[in-house]
Amino acid sequence: MIAIINYEAGNIKSVKNALNRLGAEAIVTEDITAIRQADKVIFPGVGDASFCMKKLREKKLDEEIKKLKQPVLGICLGLQLLCDHSEEGNTPGLGIFPNRVKKFPQGNEKVPHMGWNDTQFEDLPLFQGLGECSDFYFVHGYYAELGAFTTGTTEYILPFSSCLQKDNFYAVQFHPEKSGTVGENFLKNFLEKI
């Protein structure tokens, strides 16, 4: 059973639909016991970092997520909230990854970074078989800086951490649930190889 953490952030239903298409059983829940007992946990999210951190604290999920021992996959805002700090609303994150989350600088390029972009993946089980056409769908105005736990790098305006990994915590900035067949292959890796 996969638990998808529900904390009033957007985009949760499409994660569940994607897992169902792969034949996985998933529940969307904010119940701490259900999350603790799940085989794997997905921490999704689209929305404002400080608003969503506030929701996590209200639901007492912030401390619980840090204590999880099973594989946890943060998606999009999930990745950013697993970092140490976000400039979006100047909020502390959960601090699993020491990276800081910053706003894309204004310049010639449009912000948010919206659309399909490629990632340089490290040779890890989570990224196996994704192939050369590894474009994933991104939508974000803030990015996680590169660091020791970066496992995938994408370039937009500057190189940033599109994938992070530390112990049982995995995180991606892109939306695998919206990234066509490549995205499904990625989720299948998380279900089967992690």
Partner: protein, 257 residues
């Protein structure tokens, strides 16, 4: 590198896909979910579903359709047509739409843009602008192109961005359905003046039209309907062509082409 997006648009009437010429003369073009799945497999980057019936009694049918799409489709999709309130937008987003597009209602009440953006994020608000070249100016039209407004297209696009729109879907009414090429000039002007992505729409007839709107028109994405629905230009063929022309595009993985 960020890729230029190809977006098939499905006009929905009573649960079916239809395509008209210059906003009139509708032809039946198939089941929306079936078509959507085909496009997703072929490598379409996103989909837009535009409900052109959008009467209150049909609202429930649309929401059921959105739920079905969200269940089967693994790429992002936008739903538009008849969204007048935050509640209308919320119902579609909760049914699984990634973005909603608003048009006439935003012109009548611009704060609708900020209300939806505040609650669900800028990224899910697509401001659809129907534009027409009248007396040497690009003007904004509403009500499916029937009513001219006081807005100049450039000004309205900038105001939309300021209010929190995450993207502009710019449809040239003079071009729509004509297959004579996108309105490259106004697309380029809007794309240069706003800092959010611009989707060009209306006029796609040949593969070269897409190169033109991406390169000269600086569009971030291009939307078309009939050339895809009637199989005139298959998505994979278009993308291979664009790649040869030096336009960065995403190719679907081989087994699906």
């Amino acid at each position: 590198m960020l890729k230029k997006r190809i977006i098939p648009c499905l006009d929905i009437k009573d649960g079916r896909t239809v395509k008209g010429i210059n906003f009139l003369g509708l032809r039946d073009a198939g089941d929306p979910v079936e078509l959507a799945a085909k496009y997703a497999k072929q490598g379409a980057d996103e989909l837009v579903f535009l409900d052109i019936t959008a009467t209150i009694e049909k609202r429930k049918t649309l929401i059921e359709l959105v739920e079905r799409i969200s269940h089967y489709i693994n790429i992002p999709f936008t739903v538009g047509g008849g969204i007048r309130t935050v509640e209308d937008a919320a119902a579609l987003l909760q049914a699984g739409a990634d973005k909603i597009s608003i048009n006439s209602a935003a012109v009548k009440r611009p704060t609708l843009i900020s209300e939806i953006a505040r609650q669900f994020g800028n990224q899910c608000v697509v401001l659809a602008i129907d534009t027409n070249y009248i007396a040497n100016r690009w003007k904004v039209f509403i009500h499916g192109g029937k009513t001219e407004t006081d807005w100049l297209t450039l000004d309205w696009a900038k105001e939309g961005e300021r209010l929190g729109a995450g993207e502009i879907l710019l449809t040239s009414m003079t071009k729509d359905g004509t297959k004579s090429g996108f309105a490259v000039d106004i697309t380029g002007q809007v794309s240069e003046q706003v800092n959010i992505p611009v989707i060009a729409s209306g006029g796609a007839g040949t593969k070269a039209h897409f190169t033109e709107v991406f390169q000269a028109g600086k569009a971030d994405a291009a939307l078309a309907a009939s050339i895809f629905h009637f199989g005139e230009i298959p998505v994979p063929e278009l993308k291979l062509y664009l790649r040869e022309q030096g336009v960065p595009v995403r190719l679907a993985i081989k087994e699906n082409i």
